[in-house]
Structure formats: C-alpha cells, structure tokens
C-alpha cells in the first residue's frame, strides 16, 4: 500500500515535471513578435512563459492577502523592534556556513574572512547570534547564495520563473535554492536527528520576518505601478544583479544609452537583439 502510494506520488512528480517542461517549450515556441518595438519589449521581458507566471503570481498574491501579509503585520506591530532585530540577527548568523561556502566557491577570500569573523564575534559577543556587534563595528552582514555563485561562474539567469509561495526566481536561482537546502548544516543535522520541525520553522520565521519588513515598501510600489507583476519582475532581476555584483561597487553601472544622443537614447539594454 505504502509503496503503491509512493509510486503514485513518484508518477505524479514525473507527470508534473513533464507538464512543466511541455509548458516551457510551448511558451518558448510562442514566437518572437514581428514589430521591432514589440520585439524589443519581448527580449527585455525575458519571460517566455508569462501566462503561467502570471497565474502563479495571482495565486501567491491571494495567499499573501489572506494569510502572509496579515500575519506579518501582526508580527510587526506586536513584537518589539529590538526582538525582531534579534531574531533576524540570529537567522542571519545561522546562515554563516552556507554564506562561507559561497564566499569560497566564488573565490572571495575577503568575504570569507568577514563571514568567519562575523560568525565568531556574533556567536560569542552577540549571545549566540542575537546581537550584531560585528555589524556595529563595520563588518556588515552580506548574504551569498548558490544562485549568486553560479552567476559568478558565468551561468546566465535563464527565463523568468514565478515559483508558488517562494515568489520570483529563474532556473539558476531556483537550482541554487535546492542546492542550499541540501548542504545546509542546520538542515542536515535536523534531518539526521529527526527534528524536521526546525528547518520548516526556520523557513517560516525567516519568511515572516522578511515580509514584515517590506509591508510598506510593497504597498507603496503597488500603488504607483501600472502592472505590479512587471514591477516585481523588474525589481527581482535588478536586485539579483546588484547582489551578484556585491552591491556598492567601485565601478557603478550606467543605464545604457539613456545619456547618448537623442536617436540612440531610446535603445535599451538589449538593442543588439532587435536589429
């Protein structure tokens, strides 16, 4: 009975994967528009399975409206700021091993040094990571994940992908997320000792904490945007690109062509694909 259920679930997974691949291919075959202006918009969007992504996005927003956002608002309004900061620091500190692995995989020794000294300082002087004395001294927290590492190794992001519950992503970042969950020492330890509630609880608290910090920002964004789906898509890509370049850089990126002569100034970042 159990094995049959397992087999059935396995079939379902395979079926889902095939359906998803089919959908991706269908989307890919939908065809590039003829009109040069449409074509430029198409390439800049880089979103061949947009109808599917939009459906997932509405599902996520529905869930957010009735569930995540109200709970996050209660969390924000009832838990004192100091405690929320403490929880955020604790979760950040717990991520140190994964961040360190990514620092090293990216060949970023300076970053690795910061991660190690932050972990040591905050675990000891920050009472197990609840405080962030290292950050107060100038060694600020900077997250790294496998999606970023793959990007540093030269892998492209691929088409936009909206994941249920987890939100905006792409094939590169989604695979990075899977790898991270497989090698995270806290998750591994919990798995081996049958404490599955710990990694799940950690994901929930992390999500709650992050959502509670973006309530106002997201509300404001939605108010001013013409198409919220596109706003989020654009923001996700740009924020990821910024994270991959590790934020503040000595060599800032200009917005292409906007400063050039009138005729060229309307050509965008993917102009070469449209000609």
């Amino acid at each position: 009975m159990i094995s049959r259920t397992k087999k059935y679930l396995g079939d379902m997974k395979a079926g889902f994967a095939i359906a998803l691949i089919g959908l991706l291919m269908l989307g890919g075959c939908a065809g590039v528009p003829e009109d040069p202006a449409d074509r430029e918009a198409y390439y800049e969007a880089n979103d061949p399975i947009e109808p599917f992504n939009r459906a997932v996005f509405s599902f996520n927003r529905g869930l957010d409206a009735v569930f995540f956002k109200p709970i996050a608002a209660i969390y924000r309004d009832t838990v004192p700021d100091a405690l929320r900061d403490g929880i955020q620091n604790f979760l950040n500190n717990l991520k140190s091993p994964v961040i360190l692995a990514n620092n090293l995989l990216q060949g970023d020794l300076q970053g690795a040094k910061v991660t190690v000294s932050r972990f040591a300082t905050n675990t000891v002087a920050g009472f197990g990571g609840f405080g962030d004395p290292a950050g107060d001294l100038g060694a600020k927290y900077r997250g790294e994940d496998f999606g970023q590492t793959l990007a540093v190794w030269g892998l492209g992001e691929g088409p936009y992908l909206m994941l249920p519950i987890f939100g905006p992503s792409n094939p590169r970042d989604a695979s990075g997320m899977v790898v991270a969950s497989l090698i995270d020492p806290v998750t591994m330890w919990a798995d081996n000792t049958d404490r599955n509630a710990i990694p799940i609880g950690r994901i929930i608290v992390r999500g709650l904490d992050e959502r509670s910090r973006f309530i106002k920002t997201l509300d404001d964004l939605e108010k001013s945007s013409l198409d919220f789906y596109v706003t989020i898509r654009s923001l996700y890509r740009q924020l990821r690109a910024d994270a991959i370049r590790n934020g503040a850089s000595d060599d800032p990126i200009p917005t292409p062509s906007i400063s050039l002569e009138e005729d060229e100034s309307l050509l965008g970042p993917r102009a070469e694909l449209v000609k």
Binding site: A37, E44, A45, S224, L235, S259, S265, L266
Partner: protein, 209 residues
C-alpha cells in the same frame, strides 16, 4: 552588547557626518556632478520637508525641482523605447505631461515621510563612453540603521547637468519604468494609446486618494 556600542557609535557617526557636511567644497572637487546632486538634494530636503506643508504645495515645489534637475523628457523617451517612434506630436505632448505627473505623484509624498536622514555624496565615477557621470550617495537614517545606497546618473555635467536616472540599491527607476510601460503597450497589441489611457487612469486614481 549592542546597547553598549550604540552611544559610542552614535558619537562616531555624528562626528563623521559632521565632518562630511562641513567639507562642502569637497563635493565640488569631486567634479561638478557631485556638487550639483548635493545642492539639489539639500534643496529638496529644505523645501519639501517643511512641517504642515500641504500635499498640493509639496507637489508644486517638487515639480519645480524635478524640472530644474532632471531631464524628464529624455527619461520619458528612454522609458518608451522604440515605441516612442509611434507617438504623434499631439500624443507626445500628452505623454510628457502624464509622465511628469506620474513621477510627481509617486515621489513627492515620500518627502512627507522624511525623518531627519542625512544625504551624503560618497564619490563620482566618470563614464565618458556613456556621456555619464555617476554620483554615488548614501541616505543615512538618524538612528544609525543601514544606509540606503542611491546612485545618480548625470548627463552633461560640465555644461548643463541634468539627472537621467536614479538607482536605489542598484534598482534603476528608468529601467523599471521602461519594462512596465512596454509591457502595458505590448499587451494591448503594440498600441501606444493604451499606455496613455493607463496613465490617465493612474493619475485620476492617485489624485482621488
């Protein structure tokens, strides 16, 4: 632990910010673009964050600063991409007005939420091949929380400097707006009219609240 550090840090920060503010001419040495952005930012904080300023009055003041410091027409053109070639002169006039209104409605209210943050220019990067000077700045909250990174792309720094893009934490306002506008047009069969309609609706909605 952090509570022991805080007062000490606060003093350090105050001294640090203080020295930066006192070295006004420093910005000028970094090139004209830095001084230009600094002046504009300080003026914005001075005139837009006055207590008891009515929303309408704030919008008017913001609009004046926007016209003074930004090349709104150029940004509007970039944001439309190749679709701008489909604009008739009459449509272009309406589009420019609607686009300016959208910027004013979106950003002017933010100055009403001002709570004493300081605006600091960090440095200027010249990018001659893009005829751009990028002014890197930080907006620092009073409580010593994490600063917000803001990069200003300035065109024509030597003669008549105008801002053409603003990046907040790496997110370009012009690129975000461009993707949004072109999505609206593309979804409506490539008709630029549809964008003007959407902008009119948005303007009405933002006004009514």
């Amino acid at each position: 632990m952090s509570s022991i550090f805080r007062p000490f840090l606060f003093v350090c920060l105050t001294v640090f910010v203080g020295t930066l503010v006192m070295q006004g001419p420093l910005a000028a040495q970094n090139g004209d673009a830095g001084a230009f952005v600094k002046t504009l930012g300080d003026k914005a904080i001075q005139t837009l964050t006055v207590k008891d300023l009515s929303e309408a009055e704030r919008e008017e003041r913001f609009r004046a600063l926007l016209r003074d410091g930004f090349d709104v027409k150029r940004i509007g053109l970039f944001v439309l991409g190749r679709y701008s070639r489909k604009l008739s002169p009459a449509m272009a006039t309406e589009y420019n007005a609607l686009f300016e209104d959208l910027i004013v409605a979106t950003y002017s209210a933010r100055f009403g939420e001002y709570s004493g943050q300081s605006f600091v220019i960090k440095r200027v990067a010249e990018q001659p091949e893009q005829s751009a000077s990028i002014v890197m700045s930080e907006i620092r909250p009073l409580d010593g929380g994490p600063p917000i990174r803001v990069d200003w792309q300035v065109r024509g720094a030597a003669v008549d400097p105008k801002i053409v893009d603003v990046r907040v934490e790496g997110v370009s306002m012009s690129i975000t707006q461009r993707e949004e506008f072109s999505a609206v047009i593309k979804q409506n069969g490539g008709k630029v009219d549809s964008l003007l309609e959407a902008l009119r609706k948005k303007a009405a909605k933002l006004k009514s609240k």
